[in-house]
Symmetry: D2
Subunit: 300 residues, 4 copies
Amino acid sequence: MLSGVIPPVCTPLTPDHEVDVGSLVRLVDHLLGGGVDALFVLGSSSEVAYLTDAQRRTVLETVAGHVGGQVPVLAGVIDMTTPRVLEHAGVAVAAGASGLVVTAPFYTRTHPEEIRVHFRTVAARGGLPVYAYDLPVSVHTKLSADLLLELAAEGALAGLKDSSGDDGGLREVIMRRREPFSVLTGSEVTVDSALWMGADGVVPGLGNVDPQGYVELYRRARRGDWAGARAEQERLVRLFEIVRVGGARMGGSSSGLGAFKAALHLRGIIDCPVTALPQIPLNDDETRRIGKLLEDAGLL
Amino acid sequence: MLSGVIPPVCTPLTPDHEVDVGSLVRLVDHLLGGGVDALFVLGSSSEVAYLTDAQRRTVLETVAGHVGGQVPVLAGVIDMTTPRVLEHAGVAVAAGASGLVVTAPFYTRTHPEEIRVHFRTVAARGGLPVYAYDLPVSVHTKLSADLLLELAAEGALAGLKDSSGDDGGLREVIMRRREPFSVLTGSEVTVDSALWMGADGVVPGLGNVDPQGYVELYRRARRGDWAGARAEQERLVRLFEIVRVGGARMGGSSSGLGAFKAALHLRGIIDCPVTALPQIPLNDDETRRIGKLLEDAGLL
Amino acid sequence: MLSGVIPPVCTPLTPDHEVDVGSLVRLVDHLLGGGVDALFVLGSSSEVAYLTDAQRRTVLETVAGHVGGQVPVLAGVIDMTTPRVLEHAGVAVAAGASGLVVTAPFYTRTHPEEIRVHFRTVAARGGLPVYAYDLPVSVHTKLSADLLLELAAEGALAGLKDSSGDDGGLREVIMRRREPFSVLTGSEVTVDSALWMGADGVVPGLGNVDPQGYVELYRRARRGDWAGARAEQERLVRLFEIVRVGGARMGGSSSGLGAFKAALHLRGIIDCPVTALPQIPLNDDETRRIGKLLEDAGLL
Amino acid sequence: MLSGVIPPVCTPLTPDHEVDVGSLVRLVDHLLGGGVDALFVLGSSSEVAYLTDAQRRTVLETVAGHVGGQVPVLAGVIDMTTPRVLEHAGVAVAAGASGLVVTAPFYTRTHPEEIRVHFRTVAARGGLPVYAYDLPVSVHTKLSADLLLELAAEGALAGLKDSSGDDGGLREVIMRRREPFSVLTGSEVTVDSALWMGADGVVPGLGNVDPQGYVELYRRARRGDWAGARAEQERLVRLFEIVRVGGARMGGSSSGLGAFKAALHLRGIIDCPVTALPQIPLNDDETRRIGKLLEDAGLL
């Protein structure tokens, strides 16, 4: 059962917006070197919504190939509906992924019964264990505990990545699960409390920037050093401030993903901080402020 | 400048969910025979969100090939962000489409400035005239009149397909436009009033089922027979009741697209009424009720 | 059955935010002099959400008393739930109002069945005919045609004020109504088309500023001069631009109600353009731009 | 500074929907006997949205009078805008309340700057310390950490009742506060983790039913027995299942408030479980299931 620190891997791009394979490999080494337990590629933090199918394939093959089975590699198969998700699943299987991360359908007007059919179908035909990705900010529906537990009970779901921000709901799933069902929080700032409630792991976008921090947090929690876990979490909460530097003049994707990439660039891990179109780039002043926050966190 | 009746062409599927090319060709002939002015493929009514890229290409090539330039063929290039939309645009250009229909980005958290960059970029690199597709129910942002008119003024947009249901907003765009800018309503049930306000045409999903009806409505309006246009519109409003037969036990896509396909099947135009996964199929009773509504409308 | 032009009467305030009774009486005379068919007090345009109960009572008694039965006076009884609405209804009955305008419950998390109970209860105990006020932007639920028609059939509703902006839905109600059921649009900018569809009247906030305009529009439509009605509507659409002058630096209430009051002040009808707290006041430049739009419309 | 367990007191009603003063007094004694640190009247759990102003006053005077200064009594002053909130504040001051609980404006379309003006004005003129009530499910705006901390810094806010369910946001406020600023979670099911993060107290609706449980949870946390706190929290999570018994056939208010009252009635604390209109009552079977959950929790 999947557990521990599973960062959603950023996708470094070249100045002309192609996948920067060299930087991606360095980023993977940086994460593995930080002690992470698995990797998640092609999630929101990977700019999956902005990558062409060819680019998605490049990312998947690069990471799965470079990791070579050292740790599990989960693949996001983010698309609007079942048939399109199944296409991505085929690519993930071929590349050697360990599991699929699947959202509810989006763009379409979807009924709960259709969401159930969606997950069941991907589970039946996708060829890999399925992790539900609860991300209402993107797909505009919330996965209910009842639906998740029903799908878990019938074997259609291996786990949950919860990026809903609703820790009461997360706790309900944890307490009511009967089957082995991996519960992972997608929140960067409530990892200690999620682990405290019984979550199995964390998928932190900020873990790209500071994997050691999240690994340390996780290890402290696992050995019962909750005060130590909290101290580390609070350091990471202060670091997480980088995602707000872009502020109100751009959307949350631009501001958050731009900050992660700016930080990775400032730390020398990737060659170029560019984000995909139509995201707004951070300016020099904003990048300087991110650098200052990295310094405060002991990362520069 | 695009005008008249431009139905968004349904995508007939085989029982195993492949594109039914024979039925699609018959549907195109049915629409052309009904006197429509152009076709729009790969929109919401085409189940574009449910088609794989290969299926999208098949649809586009089939329709553009069969039409052979008799009328313009607009191509929906529906995807989450600019790079993915540009991929679809390349396919549309190759297939001989006449224009691109483009929504705001979705799934990502998008800022108005990013929406502006998105349309500008697709206009600059897409290779075909761009029609903005305002569809808040799917993309969760509304395109403002200010943004649309600014993009029109700089030549980035050739027109608007307005499926927002906001006829006050539609009127504002019509009254404030300065450039040639084609305004098309996507509403099936307010076509006479949209034309009355100065709209150039209509993109009615229900036009698959009754293209003659919409063509007649349009012609009456154009020759100033507004009372006649309203009478025809009211007949079509009653027919539109078919989209609600599926009711509360399924989502709006299942109920609406299922109804269009059931009607096309009952009318003998397509071989199979199946819709793509994870949509819920209409049952026999619901199909019978759709048949009854077709009879009432003089279509069976 | 209620029909014609029924402006929602603004509530003039003194500089220290009390009801300015003298200005209110002058405004009522201005509206009656403009030829309106009825008045609606204590609606959104009256800043009902900002008035204390004592102020609401003052408004109601002032207007009903001054009108003295010349035209019907509808009273908004806007509050969160049934018991609070019934309190306001008692005041309205005592003041001599002709009907109650009632929204769905808000603030609470409401189920359709609870909305049904709400309207039925107010109808049974409110003491006056009930008009449903469909205002999703404020109450965050849309009243469905099915619910409205069911309540109309059982005699619980005398009519509908539709401020949802959904003219397709408006048309559905008009076409499906069987009982005498007054359908009024709350949109300032689609009055000609709503009347064209069969609506009985209009409740235009902008009618405070230019009652003659809406009365002329209505009369032209009623005598079949639709081109003339459209011309007048288009003039009013251009005037309606005043509500956007406050723009993005304030909310829609501040910008819209502030504009109506600034215009009434510039036209010499009310003594003071102040709006209630916490609305943001328009500044001098914005007021000047509103004056310019009034000039363009021939109102200054 | 306010801390500890501060239940939002339910409002018992008679079968004809009047405030049941005798039951209310018994409920207050039940809560005080359970060891709570303060009381919050006229919040969502008090059905404040359903009470007339006279009923609100009765509740406030009854509770403040009966408590007689033994513990602080916070008063919800829930209404749409500043002037109406100030009216309620006057009543609260007269009744001897210790503080005001204030939401963002609702029903109106509100801009962040207007929310700021609203809180500042209530703080300046309300006559009592103000606690911000963050309740997006009801008011449809989220209070940002920046706004809260700015208002705290200028002395306009004494604290926060956070019912947003966003524990990441809660933590941000806790970590960034500089002034004495009381942070209270409104979530029944994440109290241990909120206290872990540094929250000062909890305002649990479920605390009506089991005040001893929340007091015990709080005491264990305060003396550092976090495992004990979690065990008690998990027992309360299972008990919280009562709010879902009403399920999908009613709204969340009906289901949740109905369950609290049914439980208080089954435990013999209040005379009648009725909720205010237009809420849907629980049926006998649902009440039985609530009784079963109370037994499981050792409360019957």
